[in-house]
């Protein structure tokens, strides 16, 4: 199975997958990489199941028939974190796009993951919607995972976009705080899917895992998963459409504020 570093960092899989193995007698090996790379691994046949949070890349993969059995399973949100001083005053922004615009127009630094992760993809969408980007010397592209990116932002007193779970996990060592959150632009949805063309036991095991996460016992466990005293992921509300990358959890947007 390939998943994103944000899922891996949260510790979710380390906690719930042993339950799956105990119940179904199937062991799962997890590769944690960026969303884009996870899709690559699936396409190259190195993994059978994928769990990512990059709707744009997922949509492309779906239309290329590179993935199948697509279902949204959980969501949380991204937050924009920065130094307490908040030089770009984004705490007063109206939307995430507005916050990004304020950052671009200020002298503040923004630290970008610069990789193929879902977080980076969302960041690029927000710059596109804001129709602005910070000047080259104030946009630091670090090409690292969320942890490394947060560290650089903390040291340089800059802003960055992070998923809430990873931020909470690293929070105590950072000089950053959440400055803007909420709104549909920052909803972070996770979907599970499998590789098409599997047969036999490979197909059975892959489907078992995907179903367990989407509809089975896994749901309950995702919902009750807590890290550092905080709930990390919300399960996809039943009845809410979940088969398309662009789906958002109905009626749950208020939850993420």
């Amino acid at each position: 199975m390939a998943t994103t570093t944000s899922v891996e960092n949260s510790g979710l899989l380390a906690e719930i997958l042993p339950e799956f193995t105990k119940q179904r007698h199937i062991t799962v090996e997890v590769l944690a990489v960026g969303s884009g790379q996870a899709l690559n691994l699936l396409r190259r046949g190195e993994v059978a199941v994928g769990l990512t949070h990059d709707p744009g890349a997922e949509a492309a993969a779906l239309s290329a028939a590179a993935i199948t059995g697509y279902r949204k399973i959980m969501f949380n949100d991204f937050i924009i974190v920065g130094p307490q001083a908040d030089p770009a005053a984004i705490a007063r922004a109206t939307t995430a796009v507005d916050a990004f615009r304020k950052i671009a127009e200020s002298t503040a630094t923004f630290v970008s993951r610069g990789d193929t992760s879902g977080t980076h993809a969302r960041e690029q969408e927000l710059w596109a919607q804001a129709n602005r980007r910070p000047a080259a010397d104030r946009l630091l592209d670090v090409g690292q995972g969320m942890g490394g990116t947060l560290r650089v932002a903390s040291e340089r007193g800059g802003y960055t976009l992070s998923d809430r779970a990873t931020f909470e996990q690293f929070r105590s060592g950072l000089r950053l705080m959440p400055l803007f959150q909420g709104g549909p632009e920052l909803v972070n949805t996770y979907a599970v899917f499998t590789r098409p063309g599997l047969t036999g036991s490979a197909l059975a095991t892959a489907t078992a895992l995907a179903d367990w996460l989407a509809d089975g016992d896994g749901r309950q466990r995702i919902e009750s998963f807590v890290a550092n005293g905080q709930k990390v992921f919300h399960i996809w509300p039943t009845g809410s459409p979940r088969g398309a990358p662009s789906d958002l959890p109905a009626g749950e947007l208020a939850r993420v504020r």
């Binding site: 990489v33 960026g34 884009g36 790379q37 690559n40 610069g114 990789d115 193929t116 080259a136 010397d137 630091l140 592209d141 670090v142 090409g143 690292q144 490394g148 560290r151 650089v152 903390s154 040291e155 340089r156 060592g173 000089r175």
Partner: protein
Amino acid sequence: MFAEIGRALALIVHRDVEVWQITGVSIAVSTSAVVAAVAIGLPLTYVLAGSGPRVTRVGMWCAHSAAALPTVVVGLTLYFVLSADGPLGWTKLLYTRTAMAVGQLVLTLPLLIAVVLGALHRLPASANEALVTHGVTPARRMAWLLWEVRTAIASATFLAFSRAFTELGSALIVGGNIRGATRTLTTYIALEYNRGDDARAIALGLILIAVALTANGLMHAFMTEQ
């Protein structure tokens, strides 16, 4: 894969901007680290060598041990020292090229000391005695004796450069792989290889090998000349 290698060579030949920028950072950081190591290491080694056999023995032991430090350990230690909460956090040097050079200085200085100290120690006592008795001043004595071991110094310098240039652990942790600033050949390859830009990664790998082989070749040439 061969198609990618071909594309990689094209990038090098056509002076792809990013490839040469990244190479430039690697060269700048490692060169300044080695220059500092030589500037600090030669006088230090000379003093150690002149302080008697016991100091020399202890010095050799320390240098050999320090030379074996894993790069990530040096990087991690430097990270904690330079981070905002650390004792030198006020310098704001974390994630700068200076910090990377300091890390590489720590990695290469012991190497230099070990090699040069060994060479100085092997000089017969009559060498220094001849200098002293002919009234050569302490500063000039250092110059004369270091010149006697110049091939060891050259060999050690290239060895140090090779180690600095090819190391990853320290550059990664204290540098932050920031594009245009602290991204080096090694950090790029380590972090970017899975971005799908294989051509560039291979190009940088080829440059890395070429420089490492050249530095090692020069080191070997000076070593066997001794």
